[in-house]
Amino acid sequence: MKRYSAWKLFTHALRGHKDWPEAWRAAEPKKHYDVVIVGGGGHGLATAYYLARNHGITNVAVLERGWIGGGNVGRNTTIVRSNYMIDGNTPFYEWSMKLWEGLSHDLNFNVMLSQRGHVMLAHSADQMQAHVRRANTMRAHGIDAEILSRDELRREVPDLDYSDEARFPIHGAIVQRRAGTARHDAVAWGYARAADRLGVDIIEHCEVTGFVEEGGRVTGVETTRGRIGAGAVGMAVAGHTSELARKAGLELPIESHVLQAFVTEGIKPLIDQVIVFGAGHFYISQSDKGGLVFGGDLDGYNSYAQRGNLPVVHNVAEIALAIAPHLSRLRLLRHWGGVMDMTMDGSPIIARTPLDRLYLNGGWCYGGFKATPASGWTFAHTIAHDAPHELNAPFTLDRFREGVQIDEGGSGPVPGHH
């Protein structure tokens, strides 16, 4: 597999781009692997890549029931950030942010990381204080954070409703300048290609239908393409974790919910940063193609259907107009839904399971995309060492039983409220 480079681009351009090699092989499943990763989304592919790169474990298969890039890794709003405030989350997401910053070079694939800044608005004096507290926590962990007054914000982000008539007047904002967006498809393709180059088999259209167990230990998986033996099995199928884990007899503190996202028609540059509304749930950025990409809250009920309902569309549109009334004349090009693992505390699970050599990566709520690099990094470590990395040690399955939940939103054990 050849490295991508400016020279390659030039020589291929001379030949009309007709002979680019495939980015990864269409591998046939072998009888046995050292590690089988179930789920070829961003997290599964990143895990396989870091197993090979960091731990020298290259006899690895990634089993994907659909195709690479067809799940949540291609269904998100592409935001990456590390402005978390709770022990456990703060260092984990910052490690992810650091990996993002070197990812294109590491993978030899341009993931188009755009550190355009992440601006979270405050709509009251009290919310400004809460943002200051968050900024201080972040800075104490070595993470960049700035507080902007209303006037400073207005100079940087002029196109919001700063009038006194605004439903939620803007008081200022907390800004993380290193945060921004990345090209979501490129993350999947980049990890897949890089993992393939290190020897990982990526097997698409291969659904896991059951687990093979011997004496409390998992020794393989049953799939639609036959039985595949495995020294260890990692599950990375967020959205559908409950359904897969049930096949291994696990009961989980997870509900699946649908989250919608939206893209408008393309327009000239209007929104330079990621802007987040502070008095409700709404986040917006502009893609390189010019479309405004945004989303809001969960629909609020259990769902595996990858589509949502009109009340949330209505609510999201109302919020958009509350902060930027000039958006009212834009037309929506597309809107879609993705299925989220919502955990009981709003934080993920990257951990061993009660079954020996079966590992769980899931419960990403709607924060999975930004976590992709660190999730793969720490999950690979957990599988390779049969013990967690210090960064994912708090994300256990037992934390609910033990009363050490990581509840960033302070919402309590109601999955739909996180």
């Binding site: 699946s256 009920y301 259990n302 259907a305």
Partner: protein, 93 residues
């Protein structure tokens, strides 16, 4: 839009209703000291893809609590009854 046929008010948009989660979890008796049973009640959910019995309250209507059976794979509503009746039936089962 989900349309929920409220047994009292008739079929209404689900925006009139508030979601109350999985109706199959049973709260242990208040003097139950089993940590395991409380843990299961507070945290564990079946989360099936397919028929799911769940609470909805008709807050924009008669305010009754309902138990709705709904397919989480396609949002089809399969059955609706008053929660009080459904709970009595569940205890008899």
């Amino acid at each position: 839009m989900l349309r929920i046929p409220c047994p009292f008010c008739g079929e209404r948009d689900h925006a009139e209703f508030s979601y109350g989660g999985d109706a199959r979890v049973q709260r242990p008796a208040l003097d139950d000291r089993s940590e395991e049973r409380w843990y299961r009640y507070v945290f564990l959910r079946d989360n099936p893809r397919g028929p799911h019995r769940e609470f909805w309250q008709h807050v924009g209507g008669c305010r009754a609590w309902l138990v709705v059976e709904r397919d989480t794979g396609n949002h089809e509503i399969l059955d609706v009854r008053f929660a009080a009746d459904a709970m009595k039936e569940a205890q008899c089962e």
